[in-house]
């Protein structure tokens, strides 16, 4: 995502809340302002219903990002 952002295409990273601190440190290290779309942890081992719930958390954040472009 950082490479895509660097190449000029707007990118965002979908990140579970437990991993936000690490994602922020990596963005800071690489001096990249990469928007984070934060969903509830975990993102692995989910039922379809739970995947839908994560998508529901991600979608409004994605729409806000798109509106801000």
């Amino acid at each position: 995502m950082m490479q895509i952002q660097r190449m000029g295409t707007r990118a965002a990273l979908i990140c579970s809340d437990a991993f936000v601190p690490m994602a922020k440190v990596q963005c800071k290290l690489f001096h990249i302002d990469l928007p984070l779309i934060v969903v509830k942890h975990p993102v692995g081992g989910l039922s379809l219903e739970e995947v839908g719930e994560r998508a529901g958390q991600a979608l409004p954040q994605l729409l806000r990002l798109l509106e801000s472009v």
């Binding site: 437990a18 991993f19 601190p21 690490m22 440190v25 990596q26 290290l29 081992g45």
Partner: protein, 386 residues
Amino acid sequence: MKGAQTKHATIQAEEDFEKINRLWQEKSWDDGLPVVPPTKAAVSRMLEFCPSSWGDTIATMPPRWGEVTPIRVASNAVMAGCRPEYFPIVMAAVRAMCADEFNLFGIQTTTHQCAPLVIVNGPIGRELRINSGLNAFGPGQQANATIGRAIRLVLLNIGGGIPGTGDMATFGSPAKYAFCVAENEVESPWEPLHVELGFPTSASTVTVVGCEGPHNISDHESLTADGILRTIANSMAIPGCNNATAGNINFVGQPLVVLGPEHAALISKGGYSKSEVKAKLHREARVPVRNFSDESIERRLRNSGRFEDQASLPLVERRVPLAKSSSDFMVIVLGGAGKHSAFMPTFGATQSVTEPLKREDGSFATSINDFHVPVDKLPALDDFLE
């Protein structure tokens, strides 16, 4: 980045052990245990065993991508309590961990509990008295404890593998404090790891493996090689290990089997070479598909490419190998008396890396003193400091 000269920061501190340690804890420059203060004098003594350019950046270490220089590594080795003569082992391990195929970014940041295990082979391991025998993974030997601890401090302080922001391990592991052994070559009935990899017996090497701590395998009853190997193979065939499930795209895992000398002797007496042991483990240390959950079968296994040799069987009758080929299994002999061996599953998406200990002229070192530089030929540490 490689070869770039780096000026190193220093910090002024009162010469007081407790105050220095409080400062280190405030800065999170420690592993939770007290450290030996890395004074200029102590770091200079450590660098007496470093003939290469002290200020050169030899690699960058993830996830912080910190610049690895001999001076920075030496500071951490001092903090860990290393004797100066251990330093070439620490440097070799650091170089090995930074090789691309080791996947240090993954190993540092994963939720898995893996840690880089350092395995020393050859005469220099014996010269430094790195424990290869009784209680090899345990406490009591300065070389194992402090070399292992130096590696962890480097991973924390240079690599930035800080719990919570650079190390996301669910549990972590006691192996993350210190994880260093030498192979018990004296009691091994087979060629040691470094000879198997193509190095001469007289060479010394440092191998890093991104693995879990040892899972003990007891067998006090078997009287035959096949009996012991059946116990070991079935003890390894567990669905919850990364070698069974991880790395479906890059199926590169190298499960590590540590044979106690008594088990190794019995297996060898039964006529097995080391490569035949590996072939048997590849055939028999397989996890029946029916032992996995339905979701794991669907999400991880069905399309994983792990069953190419069993295409004629229904899925539930197939068995998942722990490595792609028999040569991917790693086997070493370690430890003392007792009917025990151990399985050390790896992170999965990692390859072990071996660094030979070589002199400046490229020849294999035969003694740790080959790395020693007389004090009058050393550069001044101050020349490399800000």
